[in-house]
C-alpha cells in the first residue's frame, strides 16, 4: 500500500486496515509523519521524530494530533504562548493518557490561539495557521492548527478544546466535523486552563463516525478533575440514516435574526434544513430569548476566569522570566514580555469585571444571564430533540482582516457561545460551500445526548455528501495531490 493510500483512510477505516494486516502501524505513522513534518500551513508546533511505543488497544497504531495546550510529558506544551515557550511538562493530561491507553500514537502538537483565546488562530505566538481551502484565509480558532491538519490530511484526526466555540467554529471554517461534549464528559486535568467553567475537550475528525470513535476514548471520570463526570452511557458508533420523528428547533436569534450572518451561510443552512425534512425530521422556528446576550455574558465570564487562571504565569516556577529589580517588577515585566495582545486584553477585561465596585454589575449579572440562557435551552429541549443553527456566521475570512477589531472577531462565536454557557453538547458538520468555502451546520442537544446528536449528524452527513477533497489534495503539502481511486469518504 502506498503512503497516499494509507492517509486516504479515515481513522475508523485505518483501524480496520490495521486489524486486517493490510497496513502496518509503522507505515501509517511514517506516512503521516512525512506530511506533518513537511506541511506549509503552520498547523504543527512540534512533530514526533518517531512513533512512540504503542500500547495494545482498540485504536492500536492510529496516530493522533494534539492541541498544544494539552500537557504531554517531555514534549513541548506551550498553549501558543511565548510565556510557555519551550516548556516540557513533567506529566501528561488525562485525556491524552486515555488515548495512549487505547493504542493511539502522538503524531504532533498543533498550533492554536494563545491560551485558546481567539477565533482565527492569528493570536498564536508561533504565527498564524493557514486555511487549506485558501491559504490567504484563517482556519478559525482557537483550535486552528488541529482543524487545518485534519482538513488537509496531515493527521487522521485531532483532539482540541472548546470554550466558546474553539472546536466547532474551526471545524466549520475548515470543512470537517468537530464536537464539544457535555461539560464534564472529559477530564480537564492537564489541559492548560483558559476558563475552567467552560473549557471542554473534544474531537476534530473527517467524519461523524470518527468523531464518535475518538470521543468514546476521551471520555472519563477522573479523580484528578472533580468536575469530570464522564457520560452515563458509552459512546456508540452512529448508524442512523433517517431522522423520522426527530423534532428540530431553529432559534431565530441564532439564525435569521442573527447579526452578521452572511447570505451564503444562511442559504447553505437552509439547504440542510430541507435535507433534514426529506430525511423525516420536523422543523419549527422557535426562540431562545436570552441567546442574543450570550456573547455579552461570555465576554465577562471567560475573561474573568482567565484573569484568575493566568495569574500563575509569574516567572517564578516555570516558563519565561524577565529581569526585574524587585519581585513585583519581575512579575509585571515577565507578563508584559510573555503575553500577546489578545491575552493582555482579556486579562484586563477580566480583572476589571472582577474588581471592587464592578463585580456585581459585570460578573454577578453575567452569571444570572448564564442561568437564563441555560433555562432557555432546558425549555427548548422539552419541545425539541435538537436545536440547529449555522455554526459560524461567516465563511473563513482573510488573514489580518479582523485582528485589529476585537469586537468583530468576538462576533464569530455568536452561534456557539450559548451552548458553552449552558454546558450542553453540540457538533458542527460540513454543510456545503458558500463562495467555494466550507460552512458548518450545528446540532445541539440536551446534556448527555451525545449518542443522539452523533446519530442525527451521521444521517445528515450521509445525505449532504460533502466533498472535502479539495482541502485534502492541496493539503499542507508542496508535493503532488493524492491519487484518484483511493478509499475513504473524501471523494478521492
Amino acid at each position: 500500500m502506498t503512503a497516499t493510500d494509507a492517509v486516504a483512510f479515515t481513522a475508523a477505516q485505518a483501524v480496520d486496515a490495521l486489524a486486517r494486516g493490510d497496513l502496518s502501524a509503522g507505515e501509517l505513522f511514517a506516512a503521516y509523519r512525512e506530511r506533518a513534518a513537511g506541511e506549509e500551513l503552520n498547523a504543527f508546533t512540534w512533530v514526533a521524530e518517531e512513533a512512540p511505543a504503542v500500547q495494545d488497544g482498540p485504536l492500536k497504531g492510529v496516530p493522533v494530533a494534539v492541541k498544544d495546550l494539552f500537557c504531554t510529558r517531555g514534549v513541548p506544551s506551550q498553549s501558543g504562548s511565548r510565556i510557555l515557550e519551550g516548556y516540557r511538562p513533567p506529566y501528561t493530561a488525562t485525556v491524552v493518557e486515555n488515548l495512549e491507553r487505547a493504542g493511539t500514537t502522538l503524531l504532533g502538537k498543533t498550533n492554536q490561539d494563545e491560551f485558546a483565546m481567539g477565533s482565527s488562530n492569528e493570536n498564536s505566538a508561533f504565527g498564524p495557521v493557514l486555511n487549506p481551502w485558501d491559504r490567504g484565509r484563517v482556519p478559525g480558532g482557537s483550535s486552528g492548527g488541529s482543524a487545518a491538519a485534519v482538513a488537509a490530511g496531515l493527521t487522521p484526526w485531532a483532539i482540541a478544546t472548546d470554550t466558546g466555540g474553539s472546536i466547532r467554529q474551526p471545524a466549520a471554517l475548515c470543512g470537517i466535523v468537530g464536537m464539544k461534549p457535555t461539560y464534564g464528559a472529559v477530564s480537564r486535568y492537564g489541559m492548560i486552563a483558559f476558563a475552567s467553567s467552560l473549557d471542554q475537550a473534544g474531537p476534530l475528525t473527517r467524519d461523524v463516525t470518527d468523531a464518535a470513535l475518538l470521543l468514546g476514548h476521551m471520555v472519563s471520570r477522573d479523580p484528578r478533575d472533580s468536575t469530570s463526570i464522564g457520560l452515563p452511557e458509552a459512546i456508540r458508533l452512529p448508524d442512523a440514516r433517517r431522522l423520522d420523528g426527530i423534532r428540530l428547533g431553529v432559534p431565530e436569534e441564532l439564525s435569521g435574526e442573527a447579526e452578521g450572518i452572511e447570505p451564503g451561510v444562511m442559504e447553505a443552512f437552509e439547504a440542510t434544513l430541507r435535507v433534514a425534512q426529506e430525511l423525516g425530521a420536523s422543523l419549527e422556528t422557535m426562540r431562545l430569548p436570552h441567546a442574543e446576550h450570550g456573547l455579552s455574558a461570555y465576554y465577562v465570564l471567560a475573561p474573568a476566569e482567565a484573569s484568575s487562571n493566568l495569574a500563575r504565569y509569574d516567572g517564578v516556577r516555570y516558563g519565561l522570566r524577565s529581569d526585574g529589580s524587585d519581585l513585583v517588577s519581575l512579575y509585571t515585566q515577565t507578563r508584559h514580555d510573555g503575553f500577546g495582545p489578545e491575552v493582555k486584553r482579556r486579562i484586563m477585561l477580566g480583572t476589571y469585571a472582577l474588581s471592587s465596585g464592578y463585580y456585581d454589575a459585570y460578573y454577578g449579572r453575567a452569571q444570572k444571564v448564564r442561568t437564563k440562557i441555560a433555562q432557555d435551552f432546558h425549555e427548548a429541549f422539552e419541545r425539541f430533540d435538537f436545536v440547529v443553527t449555522p455554526t459560524a456566521p461567516t465563511v473563513a475570512f482573510g488573514l489580518g482582516t479582523k485582528v485589529h477589531d476585537p469586537l468583530a472577531m468576538y462576533l464569530n462565536d455568536y452561534c456557539t457561545v450559548p451552548m458553552s454557557l449552558a454546558g450542553t453538547p453540540a457538533i458542527s458538520i460540513p454543510n456545503g460551500l458558500s463562495e467555494g468555502l466550507p460552512t458548518g451546520f450545528q446540532i445541539a442537544g440536551p446534556a448527555f445526548s451525545e449518542n443522539a446528536i452523533l446519530d442525527a449528524a451521521h444521517a445528515l452527513e450521509g445525505a449532504i455528501g460533502f466533498d472535502g477533497s479539495r482541502a485534502f489534495s492541496r493539503g499542507g503539502m508542496p508535493s503532488t495531490p493524492p491519487e484518484r481511486g483511493a478509499p475513504g469518504p473524501l471523494g478521492l
Binding site: 516548556y87 516540557r88 513533567p90 506529566y91 461539560y183 464534564g184 467553567s197 479523580p223 472533580s226 468536575t227 463526570i229 436570552h290 446576550h293 456573547l295 455579552s296 455574558a297 465576554y299 484573569s307 495569574a311 509569574d314 517564578v316 516556577r317 516555570y318 516558563g319 519565561l320 522570566r321 526585574g324 529589580s325 524587585d326 519581585l327 513585583v328 517588577s329 519581575l330 512579575y331 509585571t332 515585566q333 507578563r335 508584559h336 486584553r345 486579562i347 484586563m348 477585561l349 480583572t351 476589571y352 474588581s355 459585570y362 449579572r365 453575567a366 452569571q367 444570572k368 444571564v369 448564564r370 442561568t371 437564563k372 441555560a374 476585537p406 469586537l407 468576538y410 449552558a422 454546558g423
Partner: protein, 94 residues
C-alpha cells in the same frame, strides 16, 4: 468608558506592565467591548440565581489517599532560577 487612569489601575491589579502605546489602545478597545457587554443591563434579572455550575451534580468526593507527588528535582528542572532546593526570586524590598 474606560480612561487612562482606570487602565493603569487595572494593570496594577493584574500585575501587568503596559507600554504607553498599549495603555492608549487598551482604553479604546476595552471601552468598545464593555459597550457591547453593557447590553445585559437591559435585562430584568430580579430574583434570578447566578449560575454556580452548569451540570446538576452533587458534591464530588473521593477517597483521601496519599499518592506520590512529582519529585523535587523534576519540578526545579523547569524553574528559571533555583537556590537551596527552592525557587529563587529577588527580594520584594530590593
Amino acid at each position: 468608558m474606560i480612561d487612562r487612569e482606570q487602565v493603569l489601575h487595572v494593570a496594577r491589579l493584574a500585575r501587568l506592565e503596559l507600554t504607553d502605546e498599549e495603555v492608549a489602545r487598551m482604553a479604546g478597545e476595552l471601552s468598545d467591548v464593555l459597550g457591547h457587554i453593557e447590553r445585559i443591563d437591559q435585562l430584568d434579572l430580579e430574583g434570578v440565581a447566578p449560575t454556580t455550575h452548569v451540570v446538576d451534580v452533587p458534591n464530588a468526593l473521593r477517597a483521601d489517599e496519599p499518592a506520590p507527588s512529582l519529585p523535587r528535582e523534576v519540578v526545579l528542572e523547569r524553574a528559571p532560577a533555583v537556590e537551596a532546593d527552592g525557587f529563587s526570586v529577588p527580594s520584594p524590598q530590593a
